[in-house]
Amino acid sequence: MLGHAEVVGILFRLVRFRRFRDRVWRHIDNCPSCQARLAGREDARRVLFRADDAGGLDGLWPAVRRAISAESTRPVPASAFTAAPAVRRNAWRWAAAAGGLAAAALLTAGLVRTFMSGTVRSPNLPGANGGLRIEYARIAGEPAQTIIVHEKDPEMIIVWVEKI
């Protein structure tokens, strides 16, 4: 059988409406049974590390001092935290935006070029003037065997040159 505090806890977790939760909070704050299910400050301090456990911490100041004296003898002025970070943040945003635009432009140009070269027929292409003529082919100064393969695709001719 669930106790009173468990029922309140379950209702609290299940129902998320703010008004309901406020009522539950008020109940928990004033109900001895609910309070008994929660650790008090002293109970919590029994399981927590406390400031008086920290002892001297004698090494902390020398370490902090070394670090801060290595940089400067005074804190960074307030002005450095007002204008500059905003400017720097904006600069980064602009740089990122410019980079993104440049990448998009390059990609678009590449795509356009690819598609255009596929659709516009160049007069130098073999299909355009009816054939391909090779006078001779040499490999390392020596005559080579040349095989011309004409595929079904009218715009594609494979030229295979082989050393004899």
Binding site: L38, L57, V76, F81
Partner: protein, 183 residues
Amino acid sequence: MSLVDEKATIAACLAGQGEDFRLLVDAYKSQAMAMAMNVLGNRQDAEDVCQETFIQVFRHLARFDPARSFRTWILTILYRRCLDVLKRKRRFRAAFQRISRDSGQRLTAAFDPPAERRDLARIVQKRLSPKERAAVSLWANEGLTSAEIAGIIGCSPSTARVCLFNARRKIKTVLEERDVGAR
């Protein structure tokens, strides 16, 4: 350290008297260390985080709003640093542990609670989330309210209250289990 002294010390540091920063370090180092220990559960990490926190506080002292509590400001920076360490540890657990072992220089050997509390603290470390540990540490050790805790851990007061509620419930369970085990 009184509020007046604190403001005077901050003004002196901003005017270039860096040595005066020691007064602020001495005033808050124990509280900072206790909270770091409660969130991280590891002395080496807690010491590193405390050191980094005070260095960051010094660097950004000019940014401190005097209308706010200096203690709350330090603890906010400390909590974020602790979360950074936990995140880093999750990502590079093995490498981090190796580095921790290698950097042997200790700031103190005096952080040593009684054995029973140390054991309980270890159990609580496992059962509570970092946010819950921070919330309950700030509530029990520093006496802060849900609204103040919310400002430090970066959530709404309602969420801070839920964190605190869950933490207190879990701690109660740990203590009850311990009592049953002792009988």
